[in-house]
C-alpha cells in the first residue's frame, strides 16, 4: 500500500493525524481525571491548580464500600493497630466505620450490592435482547412476513419516545403488578428497550449472509433450525458481538428508569453514584472511585470484543 500521494494529500494526512490526537486528548482527559481522582487522598482531589503527581491510595475505595461516621476524637492506638489495612485508611481520613452494635459487623454502603445489580440486570437483559433480536431478525430477513416494513417500523418506533416520557406510566404499572424495585422488572424494561435496536442491527447483519449457505445446508440434510444454528449463527458472530456491546452499554448506563423503578433491592449503580454527591461537603474521591469501577466492565467488554466491533462497524461496506 504505497500509492502515490500529492503534496496536498501528505499535508492533509498530517493534519488528520493531529486532529485525531486532539480528539483523543479531549475524550480521554475526563477518563484519566476520574481514574486519577479515584486514587487521590481527599485533600489533593480539589486543589487548584490540580495535583498531577501524588502518592496513590486505596482509601477512596475503602470508603466507597463502607458506611462511615466522623471521628469525634482520635482513635485509640491499640484499636488502630488491630484494625485491618482498609480500616486504617478510613481512620487516617478522620472517619470511622459504622458497625452493628450487637454483632460488630461492618455496615455496607450498599455500593457493592448496586454494582452486582447492575451486572445482573445488564448481562441478563443483553443476553435476552440479543438472542431474541437475532431470531426475530432472522425471521424478517429470510421469510416473507406480511406487512414486514410496518412491523419493522413499529419495532423501531418503540425507541422514539425518550424514556422519561414513559417512565411515569411504567412506574404506575410496575407498582400495580409488583415489579417495582425488582431485578426482573428492570430486566424486562431493558430487554424491551434494547430489543428494537438488536432486531434492526441483526437484520442488517443477517441480510449480508448469503442465503445459499443455508440452502446448501438444507440440501446437505439439515433442518432449517439446524442450518440456523450451525451456519447462520457462526457467520453472524461479528454482528452478535457488536450488538451485544451496544446493548450492554445501553443497559449498563441507563439512569432514568433505574432511578424511578428501583429504590433499594434492585437499584443499579448509575442512580446510586450521584446520590452520594449529596449536600454539603462531597468526598469527590469516593465518587470518582465509584465512577472508575463503574467504567471498568464496559471498557473490558469492549476491549475483548474490539476485533469483532471493528469488523462489525465496517460490515457490508466492502463486498467480499
Amino acid at each position: 500500500m504505497a500509492e502515490v500521494k500529492t503534496k496536498g494529500e501528505v499535508i492533509f494526512n498530517r493534519a488528520a493525524v493531529i486532529a485525531v490526537i486532539v480528539a483523543l486528548v479531549v475524550m480521554l482527559t475526563p477518563i484519566f481525571w476520574i481514574a486519577a481522582t479515584a486514587f487521590k487522598p481527599r485533600n489533593l482531589a480539589t486543589t487548584v491548580p490540580p495535583t498531577v503527581f501524588f502518592e496513590p491510595t486505596l482509601s477512596p475505595f475503602a470508603k466507597l464500600f463502607t458506611k462511615r461516621s466522623q471521628l469525634r476524637e482520635p482513635v485509640e492506638q491499640e484499636v488502630y493497630d488491630n484494625a485491618a489495612w482498609w480500616e486504617k485508611l478510613i481512620y487516617d481520613g478522620g472517619e470511622q466505620v459504622v458497625r452493628n452494635r450487637k454483632s460488630g459487623e461492618v455496615t455496607s454502603s450498599g455500593f457493592g450490592n448496586r454494582y452486582m445489580n447492575s451486572l445482573i440486570v445488564s448481562v441478563i437483559s443483553t443476553l435476552l435482547a440479543v438472542s431474541m433480536g437475532t431470531i426475530t431478525a432472522y425471521g424478517f430477513s429470510r421469510f416473507r412476513v406480511p406487512g414486514e416494513q410496518d412491523w419493522l417500523f413499529f419495532i423501531l418506533s418503540t425507541r422514539m419516545l425518550p424514556p422519561v416520557v414513559v417512565a411515569i406510566p411504567m412506574f404506575l404499572m410496575y407498582r400495580a403488578v409488583g415489579l417495582h424495585d425488582t431485578h426482573i422488572g428492570l430486566i424486562i424494561l431493558y430487554t424491551a428497550f434494547n430489543l428494537s435496536f438488536a432486531v434492526w442491527i441483526m437484520k442488517g447483519f443477517i441480510d449480508e449472509i448469503p442465503r445459499e449457505y443455508e440452502e446448501a445446508a438444507l440440501v446437505d440434510g439439515y433442518t432449517r433450525l439446524q442450518a440456523f444454528w450451525k451456519i447462520v449463527l457462526p457467520e453472524a458472530l461479528t454482528g452478535i458481538a457488536a450488538t451485544a456491546v451496544f446493548c450492554f452499554i445501553t443497559a449498563w448506563n441507563e439512569y432514568a428508569f433505574a432511578l424511578m423503578m428501583t429504590s433499594k433491592n434492585a437499584q443499579t449503580a448509575p442512580p446510586y453514584i450521584p446520590s452520594q454527591v449529596g449536600s454539603g461537603l462531597s468526598d469527590w474521591t469516593v465518587i470518582a472511585s465509584g465512577a472508575f469501577l463503574f467504567l471498568l466492565p464496559v471498557a473490558v467488554f469492549t476491549f475483548l470484543l474490539r476485533n469483532h466491533l471493528l469488523r462489525g462497524m465496517s460490515f457490508g461496506a466492502i463486498r467480499k
Partner: protein, 363 residues
C-alpha cells in the same frame, strides 16, 4: 442413482408465472443440461427438484417416489451453487464432512469418505485450509466434493463454473465430464453457456419463457432445432435468419431475398414447405458458402465486413435485403471484395414465419 420425473410443473412468483407446464424425464445416470437465458426458468426448475423452491402445481418424482412435498433434506439430492457456498467458518475437510454429519456417520467412516472424494478431486492437500484461502477452481472442486461425498441420488449444478475465468472454466468443464463418466451419477446442470451445454450434455433441454423449447442430444439440438429460438440460441456465431420467398415449383426453386437477389436450390429441398406462408430461412454461417468465381447456385455480391477470429473469419455479405454471415478460412477474402455466395441446401432450416416452428421434411 436415480431417475427424475417432472410432470406438469407450474410455478408462480406472485402473479408472474415462471414455469408453464414443464414435463421432463431424466434417466438414471444421464447428464442433462438445462440451457437458456437468465430468467427463463431453468434455475427455478433445478431448485424445485432440490426442494429449495415449492412448485405451484405438478409432481416431481425421484425413483418413482413423489417428492414435491418433501423437505430438501429428505430428498437425498446434492446441489452445487454458482457462488460455491462453502461455509466460511469451516475448513475444507469440515465442509466436505458436513453432509455426512447430518446423517450421523461415525468419525472413521466420515474421514474415509472425505479422503476418498478429496483424492478423486485432487484436493487432499487443501483439507486443512479455510475456503477464503482457496482459488476459484479449488473452491468449486470442494463444492463438488461436498456434493458427491454423500453419494446422493442426483447431482444438481447451478452454473457451477460460471464464476470462473475462461481458462479455468474449460479445465473444470473437462473435470466435471470426467467425474460424471467415472461416477455415472444422474446430473442436472444449468447454464446459459451453449458451449458448456454442447460439450457436457447427454441431452440438452433448451428453455425459454418458462417452457421447454426442445429436448434432445446436442447434435440434434444443433442440427435440427425445433424452432427459431433454439436455432438462434444454440451455436456460435449465431445462425443467420431471414425472411425468404420461395419461388418456383417442384423441379427447381429459387429462394428470393428481395431486390431481385435469389439463390436457386433443387426443389427437393423446399418441396415440403406449404405455399402461401411466410417462411424464414435459418442457415448457420458454416453453411453459407463463398467462392471467388461464379458457379451454379451462386450469386454475385460484395463483402461488407470481415471479423478475424484467429482460427476462422466471419464475413458479412449483402444478399437482397439481408446480410448473411459466412464462416471462411482466415485470409479468404478482404472487406469490400467481390464474391459469389451460395447455400448448402442440406443444412438450410425453414421456419414458420408466424409460429417460429421448424418446417421439417416429413421423410
Amino acid at each position: 442413482m436415480a431417475r427424475i420425473e417432472l410432470r406438469s410443473i407450474q410455478k408462480f412468483f406472485g402473479a408472474v408465472q415462471v414455469l408453464k407446464d414443464v414435463n421432463l424425464t431424466i434417466e438414471d445416470g444421464e447428464f442433462v443440461v438445462m440451457l437458456g437465458q437468465s430468467g427463463c426458468g431453468k434455475t427455478t426448475t433445478l431448485r424445485a427438484i432440490a426442494g429449495l423452491e415449492t412448485v405451484s402445481s405438478g409432481t416431481i418424482s425421484i425413483d418413482g417416489r413423489e417428492v414435491q412435498d418433501l423437505r430438501a433434506a429428505d430428498r437425498d439430492i446434492a446441489f452445487v451453487f454458482q457462488s460455491f457456498s462453502l461455509y466460511p467458518h469451516m475448513t475444507v475437510y469440515e465442509n466436505i464432512a458436513f453432509p455426512l454429519r447430518a446423517v450421523g456417520m461415525s468419525q472413521d467412516q466420515r474421514e474415509a469418505a472425505v479422503r476418498e472424494v478429496a483424492k478423486v478431486l485432487g484436493i487432499e492437500r487443501l483439507l486443512n485450509r479455510k475456503p477464503s484461502a482457496l482459488s476459484g477452481g479449488d473452491m468449486q472442486r470442494v463444492a463438488i466434493g461436498r456434493a458427491l461425498v454423500r453419494r446422493p441420488k442426483a447431482l444438481l449444478m447451478d452454473e457451477p463454473i460460471g464464476a470462473l475465468d475462461a481458462k479455468l472454466r474449460e479445465q473444470m468443464r473437462a473435470e466435471i465430464k470426467r467425474l460424471h463418466i467415472a461416477r455415472n451419477s444422474t446430473s442436472v446442470y444449468v447454464t446459459h453457456d451453449q458451449i458448456e451445454a454442447m460439450s457436457l450434455a447427454d441431452r440438452i433441454v433448451v428453455m425459454h419463457g418458462g417452457l421447454l423449447q426442445q429436448v434432445g442430444a446436442p447434435e440434434e439440438v444443433y442440427n435440427r432445432p425445433a424452432n427459431l429460438f433454439v436455432a438462434q440460441f444454440v451455436g456460435s456465431p449465431v445462425m443467420n435468419v431471414s425472411g425468404v420467398a420461395i419461388e418456383g415449383g417442384a423441379g427447381a426453386a429459387v429462394l428470393s431475398f428481395g431486390q431481385g437477389a435469389g439463390i436457386p436450390v433443387a426443389g427437393g429441398h423446399v418441396g415440403h414447405i406449404p405455399g402461401g406462408k411466410a417462411v424464414k430461412l435459418g442457415i448457420r454461417p458454416e453453411a453459407v458458402l463463398l467462392r471467388h468465381e461464379p458457379g451454379e447456385g451462386f450469386v454475385e455480391t460484395t463483402t461488407t465486413n470481415v471479423e478475424p477470429l484467429g482460427s476462422h473469419e466471419i464475413v458479412d455479405v449483402r444478399l437482397g435485403e439481408t446480410t448473411l454471415r459466412a464462416r471462411v478460412e482466415p485470409g479468404f477474402v478482404a472487406d469490400g471484395q467481390r464474391v459469389w455466395v451460395g447455400l448448402d441446401p442440406q443444412r438450410a432450416h425453414f421456419f414458420d414465419g408466424e409460429t417460429g416452428l421448424a418446417l421439417r421434411r416429413t421423410a
